[in-house]
Amino acid sequence: MPLLEVVDLKKYFPVEGGVIDRLLGRVKGYVKAVDGVSFTVDRGETLALIGESGCGKTTTGKLVLRLLEPTSGKVIFDGVDITRLKGEDLRRLRRRMQMIFQDPFANLDPRMPVGDQIAEPLVEHGIMEWEEAREEAYKMLERVGLTPVEDFYDRLPLNLSGGQRQRVVIARAMALKPDFVVADEAVSMIDVSMRASIVKLLLRFKEEFNQAMIFITHDISVGRLVADRIAVMYLGKIVEIGGTEQVINNPAHPYTQALLAAVPTIEEKKLKMKLEIKGEVADPKNVPPGCRFHPRCPLATDICMKKEPEMIEVENGHFVACHHHI
C-alpha cells in the first residue's frame, strides 16, 4: 500500500464579484486550480510535480497537507482519509507530514529566534519539554550546517541569508522526523550556487527517515535530479506521469516534449520530435473544452476540441492523457 494516495482531488476557488454579489452570496465563476488529480507516493519515493506557474502544483501540495480544503476528492495518508479529519486528530497527524515553502524570506516568523522556531513544534506535539527541544534544535542546526550553532540559535530571520533561512526551514521540518514531506519550489529562490547543497541536504534527510516526498518545481532538470517519478501538470490536471527516466527519455505528451525542448543542454537533444508550443497558459477560469491543452498543441485535431483524453498506460507505470500521444 502506498503511503499517500490522492484520488480525483479537486479545488475550485470561487471568483468573487463586488460587494453586492458578496452580500447575496453570488459567485461569478470558479478558478479550477486543481481539477481531478490522482497519484500515489510510496515510502522512500520522491515524486516531482512539474508544470508552469499557475498549473495547480502548489495548490495540490497544499491540499495534500490539508492547508487548503479540497472541493472534492480524497487524500489517503497511511490508510486514513485526511480530508475528513478535524481539530486534534488533524493536528496530531501534522507531525508526520511537513512542508517546505518556496520563499525563504516569508517562511520564518520574523519575531522569533530561529532556534526556538525549530524547538516549538517539538514541544507543541508533546514530544519533549522545552529544554530538551532546545537541545534538539541545536543538533538540527548543526546538522543543516549552521555552525557554530551558538551564533545562529538566537538570531532573528532577518539576520540570515536566503540559503541560511532555507536551512533553518529544513531543520524545522525535519526535527519532527516526518514520514512525508512536500517541498514546494524549495530551491527556486535560492542562489544558484547554493541550490545543489540545499537539495542534497533534503535528500539526505529523506534517505535517513525513508520519507515519501513530493517535490514541486517548474524546473524539469531539478526534478530529474531528485525524483523517482515525475508527474507533469497542465491547468489543474496531470497530463503525464511515470518513472523519471521514462518521462525524460520517452516523453509521450506534447506538453512534456515542449518542456524538455526548453531545457538548455550541451549535447544534442535525443527527442523524437521537436515541438514548440504556442501562446500562453489558458485562463483557469475558462478551461478550454476537450483536451485543455489543445489551443496550444501543435498536434491538435478535431477530437481534441471535443473529447477530454483519458489516462492511457503507454509502458509499464507510464501514463499519459493525450489522444495523439507520441
Binding site: 458578496r22 516568523d109 520574523p110 516549538e120 507543541e124
Partner: protein
C-alpha cells in the same frame, strides 16, 4: 544600540519644543484676530465708562503690546510652569484648573481608548480570520463607526440608555451626594483605591456612556487596520508553516497578531491625540467637567491665558505620547534600529 536609542529619544524630546512653540504662536495670533475680546465677554457690550474699561485692560495685561504679551506668557509658562490666571474667574491659576480637570479627561480618554482597542482588535481579527460575510459585516461596522459624529451618537446613547431604558445617567461624573477622596483625580481609580464601593459604582455608571461613545467611534479605524494587517500576515508562509507544524490555531492567531502589531501601535499613538480632541466633543455632549468643557468655555469667554495654557499643555502631551510610541516600537519590533 543603547547609545543609539538614548540619542534618538533625546532628539525626539527636543523636537517637542518647536512643535509646542508653533502651536502656541498660531493660537496666540488666531485669538487676537478673532472678533471679540475678554473685556466684552466679561462685561457685555453695554456702555462702560472708558476709565473702568482702561482699568480692566490694565489689570488683565491687555494694555501691553502684543509682543510683550506673547513673550511674557511664553517666559512664565516655560520657566515657571505658570500658565497665568483666568480672566473670567479672576485670579484663579490656570494650572489649578488643569490639575483638577485633566485627570477627569484622562480617565475618560483611557476608558475610551481601551474600549476602542478591544473592539477594534476583536472585530478586525474576526474579520481577517473568518472572511466572507462576517468580514464584510465587520468592515461595514468599521465604516459606520468611523463616520459617526460624536455629539449625535452620544445623544442617541443618552436617548436609548438614559431616557428610554433609564439604565444610566446622561450627564455629569458622579451622583449627587457621592464623594470620593481626591488622590489621583480619576474618580474610578480613587474610589477603587479607597475602597469606596458606592463611589465606584456611581463613577462607573457615569463613565459608561461617554467612554462607549468615544470608544465605538474610534474603534472603526482599528478594525480596518487590524483586519488588513492580520490578513496580510495570515497569508504569509510562516503562518502556514506554523499550521503545518501542528501549532494550535489560537497560538497561530497570537503570532499573527504579534507580527501585525507595529502599525497598530502607530495608530494607537495617533489615536490618542485624536482621542483628546474627541474628548472635547464627548465632554460637551455629556457635560463632563474635564479639559474639553473647560476649553470650550474658555473659548466662549475669550479667556486668552486659559486657552493658551490648555493648548500648550495638550501639544506637549501629544508630543510626549508620540515619543513614547516610537520607543515602544523599538521594544516590540526587533527589526527597528535607531
Amino acid at each position: 544600540m543603547a547609545r543609539g536609542i538614548g540619542q534618538y529619544i533625546l532628539v525626539r524630546a527636543l523636537m517637542i519644543i518647536p512643535t509646542v512653540l508653533i502651536l502656541y504662536t498660531v493660537v496666540f495670533i488666531i485669538l487676537r484676530i478673532l472678533p471679540g475680546d475678554p473685556i466684552t465677554a466679561i462685561l457685555g457690550t453695554k456702555n462702560i465708562p472708558p476709565e473702568q474699561l482702561a482699568a480692566l485692560r490694565k489689570q488683565l495685561g491687555l494694555d501691553q503690546s502684543l509682543v510683550t504679551q506673547y513673550f511674557d506668557y511664553l517666559y512664565k509658562a516655560a520657566f515657571h510652569l505658570d500658565f497665568g490666571t483666568s480672566m473670567t474667574i479672576r485670579g484663579r491659576p490656570i494650572w489649578e484648573d488643569i490639575k483638577t480637570r485633566f485627570p477627569r479627561t484622562l480617565e475618560l480618554t483611557l476608558y475610551g481608548f481601551t474600549i476602542s482597542v478591544i473592539l477594534g482588535v476583536l472585530t478586525g481579527l474576526i474579520a481577517a480570520k473568518k472572511g466572507g460575510k462576517i468580514d464584510l459585516s465587520m468592515r461595514i461596522y468599521s465604516i459606520i463607526a468611523y463616520t459617526l459624529f460624536i455629539p449625535w451618537f452620544g445623544l442617541m446613547l443618552q436617548l436609548i440608555f438614559g431616557i428610554w431604558l433609564g439604565w444610566l445617567p446622561t450627564s455629569g461624573i458622579l451622583d449627587a451626594g457621592v464623594h470620593i477622596k481626591h488622590i489621583t483625580g480619576m474618580n474610578t481609580l480613587d474610589a477603587l483605591l479607597t475602597g469606596n464601593w458606592t463611589g465606584l459604582k456611581s463613577a462607573l455608571r457615569h463613565i459608561i456612556l461617554p467612554s462607549l461613545t468615544l470608544g465605538i467611534v474610534l474603534s472603526g479605524a482599528y478594525t480596518r487596520l487590524v483586519r488588513a494587517n492580520v490578513a496580510e500576515v495570515l497569508s504569509m508562509d510562516y503562518i502556514r508553516a506554523y499550521r503545518v507544524h501542528g501549532i494550535p490555531e489560537y497560538k497561530v492567531t497570537l503570532y499573527a497578531l504579534k507580527n501585525a502589531f507595529v502599525p497598530i501601535v502607530t495608530l494607537m499613538g495617533l489615536q490618542f491625540a485624536i482621542l483628546l480632541g474627541g474628548a472635547v466633543l464627548t465632554e460637551t455632549t455629556f457635560s463632563w467637567p474635564g479639559m474639553g468643557t473647560y476649553l470650550v468655555h474658555a473659548i466662549e469667554s475669550r479667556d486668552y491665558p486659559a486657552i493658551q495654557g490648555t493648548v500648550i499643555f495638550f501639544s506637549f502631551l501629544v508630543g510626549l505620547i508620540s515619543l513614547i510610541v516610537d520607543v515602544v516600537y523599538a521594544l516590540i519590533d526587533p527589526r527597528i534600529k535607531y
